[in-house]
């Protein structure tokens, strides 16, 4: 028995040493390789991360093609960069992976409804915003959540890696959160009655409540008014500057308004005022 114990401890020590080495190595190598504008042009293809389950911002249509507000804008960006809007590799991800995918150099731009926050800005470089957003809470009409106090003793559904999760964890730690990895799973749980409400971007919830009868955005605006912007890997200044110039150019021709009409208007009906959401040329009014 004594030998077993000695063996156990030596194994623990060896493994810890190994893990520390791995940790240090991965920590330093992730910052290394950078993919600048020239490399993208050489490859003739850009990798853009988008959502597959957040209609009407980023989702898959009946034929499985990527579509939505983010994609309409991203496609235009790709067209202006490489001359062909199809010269893009769409990378689908979960909200919690957005920073990760940039840091690990799996994508060049994240165009996945990415809200600008201080914590995120320390890890990635945000370009100019194209959209305004706040948080909201959606709940069944039969048992609506109208203020945060209504959540007492109930569960609130959130998606991991979203601003809603951080907001409640930091400002209302007493709210019992039910956390899901995927947006689609979170809404499934809401419709199954696993939680009293679901918190996410209000822009997204308005569209969802409009498509799903029996639900209402009882808390329409929560927290501060934030912006949503594309993001590139930290230090990828070349691509960032190009992207900012491009967004200014799109602003001059009111392209974001066009994208709104094309991708969002059918989902919102007349529930959302265009000017409450659209940001042109990165200028927030």
């Amino acid at each position: 028995m004594k030998r077993t114990i000695t063996k156990f401890f030596s194994a623990v020590v060896m493994l810890s040493a190994f893990l520390l080495t791995v940790g240090v190595l991965t920590g330093s190598s992730s910052a290394a390789e950078k993919k600048a504008l020239d490399t993208i042009k050489e490859n003739g293809k850009i990798r853009i991360a988008v959502f597959a389950d957040k209609p009407p911002f980023g989702y898959l249509d009946e034929s499985g093609k990527n579509t939505g507000f983010d994609i309409v804008i991203a496609k235009r960006v790709v067209k202006d960069l490489l001359g062909d809007e199809n010269a893009v590799e769409w990378v689908l991800l979960e909200p919690a992976n957005r920073v990760e995918y940039l840091e690990a150099n799996k994508v060049d731009i994240v165009f996945a409804n990415f809200t600008v926050t201080k914590e995120r800005a320390e890890r990635v470089d945000f370009a100019l915003p194209y959209m305004k957003v706040a948080l909201g809470v959606v709940s069944p009409i039969a048992a609506p959540i109208k203020e945060i106090a209504d959540l007492k003793g109930k569960k609130l559904i959130v998606v991991k890696g979203t601003t809603a999760e951080t907001f409640f964890a930091e400002n209302y730690p007493e709210v019992d959160l039910l956390k899901f990895d995927e947006i689609s799973e979170a809404f499934q749980a809401l419709t199954d009655g696993r939680g009293a409400g679901l918190s996410n971007d209000n822009t997204f919830l308005f569209a969802w409540a409009n498509q799903n009868k029996g639900y209402v955005v009882g808390v329409p605006s929560l927290g501060s008014l934030d912006t949503i912007a594309p993001a590139v890997r930290k230090g990828n200044t070349e691509l960032l500057n190009w992207l900012n110039d491009e967004l200014k150019k799109l602003g001059a021709e009111k392209f974001i308004h066009k994208a709104f009409d094309e991708a969002l208007a059918p989902f919102y009906g007349d529930t959302v005022n265009q000017e409450d959401l659209v940001v042109e040329g990165g200028v927030v009014k």
Partner: protein, 221 residues
């Protein structure tokens, strides 16, 4: 980007709670799996009509579908039929469903290894069915099956890492959560691995010890 020890210390309580949840699901799931597996293997061994065929079907179903799918069915599927189980119950049931099949196969291999001479001897001294199981068949089967039962236990503990899809805050789940909120990837992943080792290394050593203890039936096989 250095190693953030402050972060590691600050999230210790979160990992502590997650370890407890992982252990709770793993222990209950594994124990129930052993029970289900033992019963199933005996039903097969004694060729009980109908039940035997059902068990065969169950074993194939449980061993050939991923735990994620089983959990999905329990958590998102059953409410459509009006059955709403809390997520911890779903996780334990799911793990038992999966583990039961594996444990049954392990027990079966042990039962098959019990020599027929032993059975004849048992019968000749007048043991009834229960006594045969309790004193002749089961102890010898257990001895043979021990290594693979142990491997199944370790496998089931590791399988708990998928329960985040049903919103349980186990080790894997809180790691993803912390990475998503604070982006301390290296620190979170390191803690994750260390926590799993803290759970699994003692289990592995315990199993080595148990395997030695259970070698009593190695004579005359």
């Amino acid at each position: 980007m250095g190693f953030d020890w402050e972060f590691v210390v600050s999230v210790m309580p979160i990992y502590g709670a997650a370890i407890l949840l992982t252990i709770k699901i793993a222990v209950l799931g594994t124990l129930l799996s052993l029970l289900v597996g033992a019963v199933c293997s005996l039903l097969l061994y004694y060729r009980v009509k109908v039940a035997g065929s059902l068990v065969k079907g169950y074993i194939e179903l449980s061993r050939n579908t991923p735990l994620v799918i089983q959990l999905f069915f329990l958590y998102y599927g059953l409410p459509k039929l009006g059955i709403m189980l809390p997520n911890e119950v779903c996780a334990i049931f799911g793990l038992t469903f999966l583990g039961g099949g594996y444990m049954a196969e392990s027990f079966r291999s042990g039962l098959d290894a019990v020599s027929s001479v032993q059975l004849d001897l048992g019968l000749s001294i007048g043991l009834n069915t229960f006594q045969m199981i309790r004193f002749v068949v089961f102890p010898q089967a257990l001895s043979v099956a021990m290594p693979s039962l142990g491997a199944n236990c370790v496998f089931l503990i590791k399988e708990t890492s998928v329960v985040s899809i049903i919103a349980l805050r186990d080790l894997m789940s809180v790691t993803k959560e912390l990475i998503g909120m604070y982006y301390n990837t290296v620190e979170s992943l390191l803690l994750l691995v260390v926590c799993y080792l803290l759970i699994l290394l003692p289990v592995s050593f315990l199993l080595i010890f148990l395997e030695r203890r259970f070698r009593y039936a190695e004579f005359g096989v």
